[in-house]
Amino acid sequence: MISPERTPRNYWQLFRYFCLLFGGFTMMAPFLWMIATSLKGPNEAFLSSRLIPKQLVFSNYLEVWRTVPFGRFFINSLVVTCAIVVGQLITSSLAAFAFARLRFPGRGKLFICYLATMMVPGTVTMIPVFIILKFLGRLCDYQLFLGPINLGNVIGLDSYFALIVPGLFSPFGVFLLRQFFLTIPTELEDAARIDGCGTFRIFWSVILPLSGAAQATLTIFAFMGGWRDFMWPLIVTHSLELNTLTLGVASFQGLYLTNWPYLMAGAIMVIVPMLIVFLFNQRYFVEGIKLSGLKG
């Protein structure tokens, strides 16, 4: 088909394509700049703003690793995030199954409660949860529950408990999984029931294996939420051993306010694990976002 607008349309498309490439370059430029800066010597960053360093100073990374316990931060982030992901998967899928498949009095009201609290900003509940944690910690100081066993900082503020537990229960996760469970045909469940499955067996052997996509979505959201969270760890922790990576970067910034090569090396070390996870699971990330958008 030869249409009169073919050539201009191609020019236009070419122009658009170059715009896109330029945009892509803009997207990458900060990353390149970050890598370039992280390899500059301490003085060079302030002498010139050229993109390619005169000599590559890889020791910046080592130096950063030596002064700040990045390994510890990394492990903290990993532990907290994994616990949150696993916990959310367990609690949310159990509750979502109850909401989607079981009949019990108060189901509708309870579910509306869940939905309504999704509207409430995190800042509203942040302060009371902080107070509750502080208060739980002090209860444990006085051994009200477990006699002579002092739980110390196992439960209160400034503990893994404070970092993990409030993140374990997500109304969003319950909502997402419930919506997905509702789409699984009941016939499968009935067949399983005829074969003699109990309720838990149905959940475990029928519903869970069929809801892989939704579980993957929730995993990704919980992972991103946990790994990138900054405000909550900032509020509940104050000892260096409990800092997560995000906090580590922030405190690191205070430490080396003017030494940009170090700061950039630190930032790269924070970004890279996340990027690796992303690049290897890109498909799931994209699918997850689509699913949440369609269900939400």
Partner: protein, 482 residues
């Protein structure tokens, strides 16, 4: 096949399966039994309370009592009902009612009572009561609550309704709540209770450093300080036009930060438009589109805190990337983050860079792939120009996606930019990048004004809620095209 446990009314059950129905006196007997049981329980709990009060130093027995009372309770039921009822009826009752009720109801009641008791004792201790007295108070509260709840459950409506519930139904309800339990506990402790807690807190003044005795009821003082303003009477030459200058806010900072927050939200439409444009471009079959998508998607996948750190360096006035690039063109760039005129645009720019290829673009791409080709082909046959095709096909078909994205952006925007402000500018210069969420953080966790912070959080919540509602109302007629 029906999955629900209650059999249809038309099916005749054998005698031993049926409860209630043809046993008119059973409900009455149960009621009587429940009354007697509660009395028994009350006595035993009073004894327990006395013992507890004398011996408990730290309330460690609390958990012990919880479990000791279950067999006692069970025994009481057996004794009383066994004596009251004929043998066969008792056997049915035992199988159909007592066991499930014990598993579900009694346990739940005792646990709830224990929880509240522990909280009450803990609060008392926190208020400065001696540990022993606090433990007594805790176990006392638990006992009273357990008695009250059981009495309500047993004497009240439960016996009248329970006989008509089959055992399977009770087990089903029990199972459902067991499934819910882990999430429900956390939901109540970390979401539901905190919401009301923070509402209550917003009517109090509390510097958390002074401990619980430092809470003072303040009525509406927080809200009045937050939202209140006075307008001085017009002098000579004043009129409506300088109303603004004559207005004196009780907390000018809040209004300033609210304005900042709204200013930052100006970036949202630009970001959404960019996402849509990118999605349309990257939906075409152009070389390297997968690679380009990944590149655009990359920033939103990174850790925002680290990204903000990088951008702080990019905005560096002397050696930053941006000013160097501007220098090549011969423009002397401003000191972005330290200049009150440029700090907000700088942060908006970072935000757009971060979000333009992220979630929104993916959602738009998914939306675009859902539009059928035929619509475009038909439009092309009718001679529609690209813009017309966009205006009359793409845009309306993407309306649900846009609606979702705008709603989410409004919600996120009002709460947003804590991290950016914290890392890049620390809220400065002169508070020009402080947002509401940063102000809440400062009030609550830097200045320890918990009550005031809660009040701001509630105002923010109402703001978000009303804006979302407004948006929802304004667009519910335009959204559906399926």
């Amino acid at each position: 096949l029906r999955t629900d446990a209650t059999p249809p009314a038309s099916i005749k059950l054998p005698e031993h399966e049926r409860i209630g129905g043809n046993m008119p006196t059973l409900a009455f007997q149960l009621r009587l039994g429940g009354l007697a049981m509660s009395a028994c329980l009350a006595c035993s709990l009073l004894v327990a309370l006395l013992v507890c009060g004398i011996t408990t130093q730290r309330g460690t027995q609390l958990a012990g009592w919880l479990f000791q009372l279950l067999p006692l309770h069970w025994l009481g039921w057996r004794l009383i009902l066994g004596a009251l009822l004929p043998r066969e009826r008792y056997a049915v009752l035992q199988r159909e009612l007592l066991l499930p009720v014990h598993v579900v109801l009694v346990l739940a009641v005792l646990v709830a009572g224990g929880l509240f008791g522990a909280v009450a004792g803990g609060v008392a201790w926190f208020l400065g009561t001696a540990p022993a007295a606090a433990a007594r108070l805790g176990s006392g509260t638990w006992a009273v609550l357990a008695i009250a709840l059981q009495s309500v459950a047993l004497i009240g409506r439960a016996p009248a309704r329970l006989p008509f519930l089959a055992r399977r139904r009770i087990l089903e309800i029990g199972t459902a709540y067991l499934f819910l339990l882990p999430n429900l506990c956390g939901f109540f402790l970390f979401t539901f209770i905190p919401i009301f807690f923070s509402l209550a807190l917003s009517f109090c003044n509390w510097n958390i450093v002074s401990g619980l005795p430092g809470i003072h009821f303040a009525g509406l003082a927080n809200y009045i300080h937050l939202l209140g303003f006075t307008i001085s009477p017009p002098g000579p030459g004043d009129g409506w036009y300088n109303l603004w200058q004559r207005t004196l806010f009780n907390d000018p900072d809040f209004w300033k930060y609210l304005w900042n927050t709204i200013y930052f939200m100006l970036g949202i439409p630009a970001g959404i438009a960019g996402s849509l444009y990118l999605a349309i471009c990257l939906n075409d079959r152009i070389p390297g589109r997968i690679f380009l998508r990944t590149i655009y998607f990359l920033p939103s996948m990174c850790v925002p805190v680290a990204i903000f750190l990088v951008w702080r360096w990019i905005y560096n006035p002397d050696y930053g990337l941006l000013n160097s690039a501007l220098g090549l063109v011969g423009v002397k760039g401003p000191n972005w983050l330290a200049d009150t005129r440029w700090s907000k645009p700088a942060i908006i720019l970072t935000g757009i860079w971060l979000a333009v290829g992220g979630q929104n673009m993916i959602l738009y791409l998914a939306g675009l792939q859902g539009i059928s080709r035929e619509l475009y082909e038909a439009a092309e046959l009718d001679g529609a120009r690209p813009w017309q095709r966009f205006r009359h096909i793409t845009w309306p078909m993407l309306a649900p996606t846009t609606f979702f994205i705008v709603t989410m952006s409004i919600i996120a925007g009002f709460q947003g930019n804590f991290e950016g402000a914290y890392i890049m500018t620390e809220g400065g210069p002169a508070g020009s990048t402080t947002t509401i969420s940063y102000y809440i953080y400062n009030n609550g966790f830097r200045w320890f004004r918990m009550g005031y912070a809660a009040a701001i959080a509630w105002v923010l919540f109402l703001l978000v809620f009303s804006m979302t509602l407004l948006h929802y109302r304004s667009s519910d007629k335009k959204v559906y095209y399926t």
